[in-house]
């Protein structure tokens, strides 16, 4: 069946490596099947070493795919041992990749105004989404907001800007674009007569996602977020990556908690219990 092709783990070789910031590396891997199948919002589960330490795979969002060449691009922020091994990988080095995994972003209806809100390395799936939308024929209008603490952390912003109709950079220290937080400009975009014509997509630090979710809820704007959690299996088996669900309904075991790897990483903002999850 289709699925059995979809998820088999495979070796992918690094064909290009770019240090986009001192903290961020863009890796291009040769992974034809994943490039063919990955949808915006999905991730790959990457084995960083063949040894037993670090033991678990590390999840990374698919940033860009080139189905023709069979390339997949990842944007890796070096935050610890696993991501460092990946970030320092040289051309020719190969990794075992599992994917594409998880639920992708649902696409907006034709002519809708898609508002993409990215925070830090959360820009990766937003670039994937902008790329996808800019290739559809249903003429979406794309506005992107990209926030970070400072200019240097606005990694790959050109990749997002180049795929959006409007793009606004926001830095807390004002070193690039608007000073402050993305929620400021977002309010401006949502405070219009017809907010319901907008669909908001967000990925970034959890406090930012919670704020965006609240703003959209207040204005009855459709909103989708992509979450991050430590992962074990990455395929829904271990129940290690869960987040609290908003409205327990139906059978307890499935409703109290949602699996970020399988039920997500993309969720309708209203499905998440932000109070409980945003610790």
């Amino acid at each position: 069946m289709q699925n059995s092709i979809m998820m088999r783990s495979r070796r992918a070789t690094v064909v290009h490596r770019q240090q986009v910031t001192p903290l961020h590396t863009q890796l291009r891997l040769r992974a034809p099947e994943i490039a063919n199948l990955a949808a915006a919002g999905q991730f790959v589960h990457l084995r960083v070493t063949s040894g037993a330490d670090p033991l678990l795979r590390r999840p990374f969002s698919v940033m860009l795919c080139d189905p023709v060449e069979g390339f997949v691009d990842l944007l890796v922020q070096n935050v610890g041992r696993g991501s460092e091994i990946v970030a320092l990988a040289g051309v020719g080095q190969s990794f075992d990749l599992l994917g594409p995994l998880g639920t992708p972003f649902p696409l907006p209806p034709p002519h809708a105004h898609a508002v993409l809100v990215a925070g830090g390395v959360g820009v990766a799936p937003m670039i994937a989404l902008a790329d996808r939308l800019s290739r559809t024929a249903d003429d979406h209008h794309i506005t992107s907001l990209f926030g970070a603490r400072t200019e240097e952390l606005l990694c790959c912003w050109q990749e997002l800007a180049g795929r959006s109709h409007e793009f606004l950079a926001v830095t807390e220290d004002g070193s690039l674009g608007e000073p402050g937080l993305v929620t400021g400009p977002l309010a401006g975009i949502l405070d219009v007569p017809d907010p319901e014509t907008r669909v908001v997509y967000a990925c970034g630090p959890e406090p930012m996602l919670a704020a965006v979710a609240r703003m959209c809820a207040e204005r009855a704007v459709e909103c989708y977020v992509s979450l991050e959690r430590w992962m074990g299996c990455g395929v829904g088996a271990c129940l290690g990556c869960v987040v609290p669900a908003a409205h327990p309904a139906g059978d307890t075991s499935d409703a109290t908690y949602l699996r970020v790897c399988k039920d997500g990483p993309v969720f309708a903002a209203g499905d998440i219990d932000w109070g409980a999850s945003c610790l």
Partner: protein
């Protein structure tokens, strides 16, 4: 041109085509891995722990990585025995390999009720009793830490249910042998070992335990030496078959348990690291048997005990 090796083993009245099973809680209910693993090639599937009532499980964070291992505190999240039989069992059955249901509870009555219910359900090959759950009657003590409590629990389930019974032992005890013997005398047809070691990780930036549950169960290659030692000790003391587990990632790892006296092995955390791990373990066992002209895999069971 390679000659096939007969890896089949007998266990608790079941004939397993292969001694390689998947460990409870690490393979979901099978379907999660259906796209990744040739599930039909496994010796058996052991399900996530099933309780009488549905359980939501522990709040997150539930897992964290440790050197060559991981900690987990899932908290027995499961839909309860009724929903299990209704929703999870049918697809499990369809894989065509023995389904061993891991049973958990807070009281002896819980275990008995779940066992009774599962005995009526078609397609359950055997039960694996997880006796490392806090027992409310015994003041939250785990039955698995005392021979008398273990015997009481196993005997009660044995009396209530005709299915083959496997008791899963906890390594967090001073002496596992009397507990293993009690489980066997009370009617266990086989024993699984080991469950996780109790551990903790601390987030030094937050200055608090990483897991919401504070402590969690340590699994993975890190615990293999402890698991092999306990398999060796228990194998000398009881005559029922053992299912060895703890950090198995390769055929060589599995052979440590087999040679120590296990009849079969289960792969747990290894599935997360590499979904191909059970196939890899199988290849390793077959290669070993060919290299050493072992015609009947069974002959390797406990081979490191003599001498």
């Amino acid at each position: 041109m390679m000659t096939p090796v007969d890896l089949s083993v007998e266990l608790a009245g079941l004939t397993l085509q292969s001694p390689i099973m998947v460990a409870s809680g690490t393979f979901g209910y099978g379907t999660e891995y259906a796209d990744l693993v040739e599930v039909g090639a496994l010796g058996a599937i052991v399900t996530k722990g099933v309780t009488l009532e549905p359980r939501a499980g522990n709040p997150p964070p539930r897992i964290c990585e440790t050197p060559a291992g991981m900690l987990n505190a899932i908290g027995l999240q499961n839909p309860g025995v009724e929903a299990f039989i209704r929703d999870k069992l049918p697809p499990l059955r369809d894989f065509g390999v023995p389904v061993i249901v891991n049973v958990a509870g807070s009281t002896v009555e819980d275990y008995v009720a779940v066992a009774r219910r599962l005995a009526e359900a078609p397609g359950v090959a055997a039960l694996e009793l997880n006796i490392s759950c806090p027992n409310v009657q015994a003041g939250g003590l785990h039955c698995g830490v005392r021979p008398d409590l273990t015997a009481e629990l196993v005997a009660a389930v044995r009396a209530a249910c005709p299915l083959p019974l496997i008791t899963k032992l906890s390594p967090n005890v001073t002496d596992l042998v009397p507990i293993a013997q009690a489980a066997v005398e009370a009617g266990s047809d086989a024993l699984s070992l080991i469950n996780t070691l109790v551990g903790m990780a601390i987030d030094v930036e937050k200055r608090a335990p990483v897991l919401a549950n504070r402590t969690g169960g340590l699994s993975g290659p890190a615990i293999r030496p402890v698991a092999v030692r306990l398999t060796w000790e228990v194998a000398r003391a009881v005559s029922v078959p053992l299912i060895g587990m703890g950090g198995i990632m390769t055929g060589r790892d599995a052979l440590e348990f087999i040679l120590a006296g296990a009849t079969a092995v289960a792969v747990g955390t290894g599935n997360f690291v590499d979904p191909d791990v059970t196939a890899e373990v199988r290849r390793g066992l077959e290669d070993y048997c060919r290299r050493h002209q072992v015609t009947r895999f069974r002959d390797l069971i406990g081979a490191a005990q003599v001498g």
